[in-house]
């Protein structure tokens, strides 16, 4: 089925993805974090021992499912294409920035939309930053930004990343080698098989619809094309209906228990970095996983950068804390961005500017 030849089908793709997120939230994923690429990459990095934050360690089957879902559907529909060769180390750094920025805000663009649908005004504030970040990336594109072309390589290469994901799944299923949180967000999850199926469906739908949070805004700014935005909007509507119907919609800032903070400037700058880096890398964190699944080694390197970014964020104390209630006194403890996080984010944004305005199309003529 072609999920992208009309806006109605694109909307259906968003609805399907939204329903997957709803199911995962109902069956145990953290409240308001039904499906978050940055958080789940961070949890998986923790499970592999890349960081030691004990409350966020769990090999999320959703991440594995996304990659394998995209891989399987692309092979079946003959869209699998093994490519590589477009500035891999710059992409690695952009992957790090995608996750460092996300963990300052506390969520990737997908979770930003999910948080928006639950009434979290912090996410609406962050949306401003995300749009500005994508807009800055678009300016760079107009100035001739390019990381160079990718080349078709031996088909085995594109299958390596999906195979690694399969390896993590086998470790999770048949060994006790992976770390798993006993408390905190990492301990909250839907049953493994359900998460895996959810990831597979989401991955296949995202591959067919080309779902991309940064790409949707890029296309609106650059070409006034609303196709990709239709997918995101319909996912938002499904989550909004679910949150309203289940009483999970709480409009406000400083809402405890949803893993968010209300430092507006840093929410804006966090998602600014993510939007900017996503345009430069050619896709948001979700899209990078999907492209890696359908054979792009360049995107696989970006995802490896995302794992490194997650490890750095928790090993060096860059990740923000969420607003919570003190269990003893019942008082509200405001979430906060760390000093190291602020410094790292400023460096990330500066690096984005350097990458954006020093990598130009070679031999540009007009």
């Amino acid at each position: 089925m072609n999920l992208s030849d009309s806006k109605k089908k694109l909307a259906l793709a968003g609805v399907l993805s939204g329903l997957v997120a709803v199911c995962l939230a109902v069956f145990g994923n953290p409240v308001n974090m039904a499906f978050c690429i940055a958080c789940f990459v961070r949890d998986t990095a923790g499970a592999l021992g890349l960081h030691q934050a004990e409350v966020v360690q769990y090999a999320r089957p959703e991440i594995i499912g996304l990659v394998l879902g995209a891989f399987i559907i692309s092979v079946v529909t003959k869209e699998y294409r093994s490519t590589a060769g477009s500035a891999p180390m710059i992409r690695f750094v952009l992957g790090m920035i995608l996750v460092i920025g996300s963990l300052i805000f506390l969520g990737c663009p997908l979770r930003m939309v999910i948080r928006m649908s639950a009434g979290d005004l912090n996410a609406w504030v962050a949306l401003i930053g995300f749009i500005l970040g994508v807009g800055t990336g678009v300016i760079a594109l107009k100035k001739g930004f390019s990381l160079g072309r990718a080349y078709v390589i031996h088909k085995l290469n594109g299958g390596i990343f999906p195979a690694l994901m399969l390896g993590i799944l086998l470790l999770a299923l048949f060994t006790s080698l992976l770390k798993a949180s006993e408390s905190g967000p990492g301990s909250m999850h839907a049953p493994l098989i359900l998460s895996l199926i959810g990831g597979l469906i989401f991955g296949a739908v995202a591959q067919k619809s080309r779902m991309c949070f940064a790409g949707s805004i890029r296309d609106v700014i650059l070409m006034k094309n609303f196709d990709l935005l239709t997918v995101i909007a319909s996912l938002f509507v499904v989550m909004l209906i679910f949150n309203l119907a289940s009483g999970r919609f709480v409009l406000g800032f400083n809402t405890p228990g949803i893993i968010a903070h209300s430092e507006h400037l840093w929410n804006i700058l966090g998602m600014y970095a993510v939007g900017f880096a996503a345009v430069l890398a050619g896709g948001c964190p979700l899209r990078q996983l999907i492209l890696a699944g359908q054979g792009s080694s360049d995107s696989a390197v970006t995802v490896l950068g995302m794992f490194a970014g997650a490890a750095v964020s928790h090993n060096f104390g860059l990740a923000s804390s969420g607003t919570s209630l003190n269990p003893e006194t019942g008082e509200l403890v405001a979430g906060a961005v760390t000093s190291y996080g602020k410094i790292a984010l400023i460096i990330c944004i500066a690096v984005c500017f350097v990458i954006a305005f020093t990598n130009k199309r070679e031999g540009a003529k007009s």
Binding site: K142, S146, Q207, N225, D227, G282, G283, Q294, K365
Partner: protein
């Protein structure tokens, strides 16, 4: 809703090449527009140049002149 028509769609290896094509066509007043690569053509999410079918020769000339390597040229409903 706009009715779909048979158009010429040129795809490129990089987004920057598509943007350069847009700039060059504007300068030379060759009609057309940037569009997302149609899903029927590719699973990628890059940009492509869309023109009327009869502009093919002009487009080929421009690409040669400004040294853009195209990925492919398609005729498809856009």
């Amino acid at each position: 809703m706009r009715k779909k028509e048979l158009k010429l769609v040129v795809t490129f290896h990089t987004t920057a090449d598509a943007m350069a094509m847009e700039k060059a066509c504007k300068v030379r007043q060759v009609p057309g527009r940037l569009i997302p690569v149609p899903r029927a053509i590719s699973a990628g999410c890059g940009l492509s140049w869309c023109s009327d079918i009869e502009e093919q020769e002009k487009l080929l000339g421009i690409m040669q002149e400004i040294e853009i390597e195209r990925e492919a040229i398609h005729e498809c409903m856009v």
